[in-house]
């Protein structure tokens, strides 16, 4: 029987080629986007899901409130882990490790290509002896598998690192070989493990025993300072109360952290962060790995759902519109003894047939879609249907869901025809028809509501991005580059003066300054106290280091006082308006000469007008600029206008590179355009905007395909009417209007439905910004205008053809 159904399906498919193509294209786009987005979502959701007892593993993180301002740190203070192991009950296992970034590795007598010197190795950590017990998923290849990290100067490395450091050596032969870290820690390899293949944020490739740190007094014994490098993971005994442990851990910290006074605006507490939260929570970093945003994943899923829905709606609309063509077949089949159930089954299998073809098409276009979404696609993700059985399962499930979603309603409608009525040609009299067209209209309106919503959202997001990028941030940002100078033990570092001088002498350079950019993602800040006689004002103040050229290079406006004087360490401050106001000086002049700070009093010598130190998400914070040559590790360079000839600048960059390399031979010369760095603050917005544009384009495309299908159908039905009207003297324009009005009315209705929804949700989205654009009223009519124009163009493809067709043709065939 199935064979029979499929045969009919195939013949119907060929008979209505245009409709079939529309259905398949719409469904294929929906299925492919669902596939791609499933890949992304599934990938991010499977991070660190494989750990044994993973639901009982937590990371201890530190939440800080500092002058009322919250800070979140993924680590603990140095002595905390050891104390917690001894004093806290309810912990079954725990491990402490210390991430070491950009560590220098030297392999003595190496034959590797870099002569055994690796300057900035990543994925290296100092781990205690419990690490491999808490995370037993590593597979051992050679060496001491019991306690490889117990003794000082031991290192466990993965197979891939072993190959890099000791090319050509068997893992067994690597055991006992020497690895020197930071020119001073001489360790030997105690074990080799396999590189983990699981999807995990634990990407460490080298584990130095924590005892090595102890032996070299590398710990900071203070209880008051937290670093995210110092990670502490615990596995709780079963059935522990998280709240109780949180307070016990915090109490342990408070007990030891004696010199810190706590209040409701100043405190430091410990929290247990579930392992499953680590890949997503952007409060805490992730040993430098990429964090996924659950909101983005939701948004993506929603987009996929929308596109799928649009494809299904096309199918439903076109199938029910064509129902009359199938009515006779249904009537006959029923008189031949078919039950309604069998008919439903038949139509569902026809839908399945269409969906399967769509799925096949989508397997072909998915790689192309992957390109579109490439900004959202994590590096470790691949599309390979043949080798991802779980993907095939998802595809099958998707095909079934889509089949039911788009096939069920038409199947019920079609199989519900009463044979007598059909055989007497009355199936389309009365109420059945009006009800069906009503549903079809509703579905079309919903399609265009989705499309309109997406257009409005795209316009709003684009407007906000434009606003953020073109807003006067309070400083100059064009034609400026920034570069970093390496951290150096020798203070002062004479090379930086040489570099600065040489750059300043270049003809292409307007001005160079030993200065941090005024806006950046990572800021340093400090609590500064000020006594104004009566009360004490304690504020968290951001610090910017810059030399005497800072203000003029970035065109910061001095409201009162004078420029800073050059100094090796902090000696005087220029503060911003916000800080001046907090200190109680409404008139900037009044702040000049006041002393702030506790142990070391520092005078305020100037006040600058406010500028935005970070993205527009956050408000302007109190800030102080000071000259401290020894603590400044960046150079800002203002270039002379290139007059459109980028060769000039390229020239200058090349010369800077030569000087830089001469002074710092171990470093690579890198520079960033300041305006590009600022645009990067809004990377997630740019990503959203790109995604929205594509989603909008696809949604409009699918919806218009559906519209085209419906108008082809109705013009075919009304061909005779059109011909008669034409013979009676109707113009082409009259006819196009006649045929388009009904559809355009639906699009207009969808505009009125979409507008309040879009207005509400975009307002909500804009709340994320401390500084935001207006949701101007014209945005909405504009999007309505765009969609009506597109709809009219789509309709005209068919209506025009019908209107200019030779009327005698249609009339003769009657």
């Amino acid at each position: 029987m199935l064979k029979n159904y499929f045969r009919v399906a195939l013949r119907n498919f060929w008979r209505n080629k245009v409709f079939s193509a529309i259905n398949i294209l719409g469904l294929a786009i929906g299925i492919s986007s669902a596939l791609v987005i499933y890949l992304i979502v599934q990938y991010d959701l499977s991070f660190d899901k494989f750990h044994k007892d993973g639901d009982r593993i937590y990371r201890v993180v530190t939440d800080i409130k500092f002058a009322g301002e919250p800070f979140y740190n993924s680590g603990v203070t140095d002595p905390f882990a050891v104390a917690a192991r001894k004093e806290i009950s309810g912990i079954e296992l725990c491990s402490n490790f210390y991430t070491a970034d950009d560590i220098k590795v030297v392999i003595p007598n190496s034959t590797s290509e870099k002569q055994g010197i690796f300057r900035k190795q990543k994925n290296v950590t100092y781990a205690d002896e419990y690490y491999f017990k808490l995370f037993p998923f590593y597979k051992w290849i050679a060496g001491n598998t019991q306690d490889p990290l117990k003794a000082p100067y031991q290192t466990v490395i993965t197979e891939s690192r072993a190959r890099t450091y000791f090319p050509g050596l068997d893992p067994k032969a690597v055991i006992g070989k020497q690895i020197i870290y930071d020119d001073s820690l001489k360790t030997s390899v105690s074990a080799v493990i396999r590189d983990p293949e699981e999807i995990t944020d634990f990407t460490f490739r080298e584990f130095i025993s924590m005892a090595t740190m102890d032996a070299n007094h590398m710990h900071n014994e203070e209880w008051g300072s937290v670093t995210s490098s110092n990670q502490f993971f615990v596995k709780l005994a079963p059935n522990q109360s998280i709240a109780k442990l949180n307070s016990e851990l915090s109490a342990l910290l408070k007990k030891n952290n004696k010199n810190e006074q706590t209040s409701s605006t100043n405190y430091m507490i410990e929290q247990l962060q579930p392992l499953s939260d680590i890949h997503f929570n952007d409060h805490y970093d992730n040993f430098g790995q990429r964090l996924a945003q659950k909101n983005t994943l939701w948004g993506l899923s929603l987009v996929a759902g929308f596109l799928l829905l649009l494809g299904c709606i096309n199918f439903i609309n076109l199938t029910t519109a064509q129902a009359s063509q199938r009515a006779k077949e249904i009537g006959v089949r029923k008189t031949m003894g078919s039950t309604q159930k069998q008919l439903v089954f038949q139509f569902l299998s026809e839908t399945l047939f269409t969906t399967l073809i769509a799925a096949f098409v989508s397997a072909i276009i998915t790689p192309w879609l992957l390109q579109i979404f490439s900004d959202f696609i994590p590096a470790g993700l691949h599309f390979d249907l043949l080798n991802q059985p779980q993907l095939i399962l998802f595809m099958i499930a998707l095909v079934l869901v889509v089949t039911l979603l788009s096939g069920f309603y038409p199947a019920m409608i079609l199989s519900g025809f009463r044979p007598v009525l059909v055989l007497k040609n009355q199936a389309f009299g009365g109420t059945a028809k009006t009800r069906r067209t009503w549903i079809r209209k509703t579905l079309t309106v919903s399609q265009f509501v989705i499309a309109q919503f997406l257009i409005m959202a795209t316009l709003a997001v684009t407007k906000q991005i434009h606003f953020t990028l073109s807003k006067d941030l309070g400083f100059k940002k064009d034609a400026i580059i920034t570069m970093r100078i390496p951290w150096n033990n020798r203070k002062p570092d004479p090379n930086r003066d040489v570099l600065l001088n040489e750059i300043n002498k270049m003809p292409e350079v307007q001005l160079a300054s030993l200065a941090e950019p005024p806006a950046s993602t990572n800021t340093s800040s400090r609590t500064i106290k000020y006594k104004d006689g009566k009360k004490e004002i304690e504020t968290d103040v951001q610090l910017k280091y810059g030399d005497t050229n800072y203000l003029s290079l970035y065109r910061l406006k001095l409201l009162a006082g004078r420029n800073i004087q050059e100094s090796d360490s902090e000696r005087e401050y220029i503060i911003n308006e916000t800080y001046a106001k907090i200190l109680g000086f409404n008139n900037p002049e009044d702040a000049i000469g006041k002393m702030v700070g506790e142990d070391k009093k520092i005078p305020i010598v100037g006040v600058v007008s406010n500028f935005h130190q970070s993205s527009l998400h956050t408000p302007i914070k109190p800030l102080a600029i000071c000259s401290a040559k020894n603590n400044t590790y960046s150079i800002s360079v203002a270039l002379k206008s290139s007059n459109g000839d980028s060769k000039n600048w390229q020239n200058a960059f090349a010369k800077m590179g030569v000087v830089y390399k001469r002074l710092y031979p171990e470093e690579d010369f890198k520079y960033d355009f300041f305006d590009e760095s600022i645009a990067k603050f809004y990377k997630s917005e740019q990503d959203i905007s790109r995604l929205l544009k594509w989603a909008t384009g696809l949604a409009i495309f699918i919806s218009c395909l559906g519209l085209l299908g419906l108008v082809i159908y109705t013009t075919n039905l009304r061909m005779k009417e059109i011909s008669v009207r034409k013979v009676l003297g109707a113009s082409v324009r009259n006819l196009i209007t006649l045929l388009s009005t009904d559809f355009i009315r639906l699009v207009i209705i969808s505009f009125f439905v979409a507008t309040p929804i879009a207005w509400w949700s975009m307002n909500k989205w804009l709340q994320n910004y401390a500084y935001r654009t207006e949701l101007s009223w014209w945005l909405f009519p504009l999007s309505g205008f765009i969609i009506i124009l597109i709809a009219l163009l789509t309709l005209s493809i068919q209506t025009f053809r019908a209107a200019v067709a030779n009327p005698t043709k249609a009339l003769r065939s009657e």
Partner: protein
């Protein structure tokens, strides 16, 4: 074989009952060849549809092969007519998407006949109607008379005891019509009960009895 007692059918048109069939009593015996005649709109098709259980009467008792049809559930009724009744229509009502072969095969599919058996049965009937050469054509590629032959072959494929035909020759020329009537005659001789609606006295002459309908009543 078939008995109607007080069968009526009405529609509510503007609040008034309009009777299509009015209190029809009727008995048809196994092996009869009955022709129903009457002016257009007198209710012939309606009567035939009710006999074939495609339509339900508004009132009355309906017996078929000893079963009280008016008491049966939809499913049982469909089971009953699937097995015992074949239909032939004036407009043939072949499925355009299916070939001749597949059209004839369709009723067997719905009766869950095995593929191998189906093949044999269809081959058999194609042979009998001398249409083996046409089995892969689609209905639109056949003449009206040929289409009606397919329609009859389809109605007969499951060996029904009762054949209902609504103006089977209405769309055919007289020569084609005669052929069809000859086939009916032969079938009737083989024991199939036939009830046909016809406007032609000549066609009615092939049958053993004529029922005249006028305004929904048997006259």
């Amino acid at each position: 074989m078939l008995e109607f007692k007080g069968i009526s059918k009405w529609y509510n048109v503007g609040g008034n009952k309009t009777y299509i069939l009015n209190n029809v009593d009727l008995i048809i015996r196994e092996g009869e060849f009955v022709s129903i005649m009457g002016p257009s709109g007198s209710g012939k098709s309606t009567l035939l549809h009710i006999m074939g259980m495609l339509d339900e009467p508004s009132e009355g008792y309906h017996y078929f092969m000893g079963q009280a049809v008016h008491l049966l559930k939809e499913k049982q009724r469909s089971q009953l007519y699937k097995q015992h009744i074949g239909f032939v229509f004036q407009a043939y009502h072949l499925i355009d998407e299916l070939t001749v072969y597949e059209n004839i095969e369709t009723p067997l599919i719905y009766q869950n006949v095995k593929t191998s058996e189906r093949k044999a049965m269809v081959a058999d009937i194609l042979d009998r109607f001398q249409m083996v050469g046409k089995k892969d054509l689609f209905p639109t590629q056949l003449s009206g008379g040929q289409q009606q032959l397919v329609g009859i072959a389809r109605a007969l494929i499951a060996s029904p005891r009762l054949l209902l035909a609504d103006e089977p020759t209405g769309n055919l020329n007289s020569k084609q019509g005669e052929e069809i009537m000859e086939i009916f005659k032969k079938l009737n001789n083989e024991g199939v009960t036939i009830i046909q609606v016809t406007h032609s006295e000549k066609n009615a002459g092939y049958g053993s009895r004529v029922i005249n309908l006028l305004d929904g009543r048997i006259s």
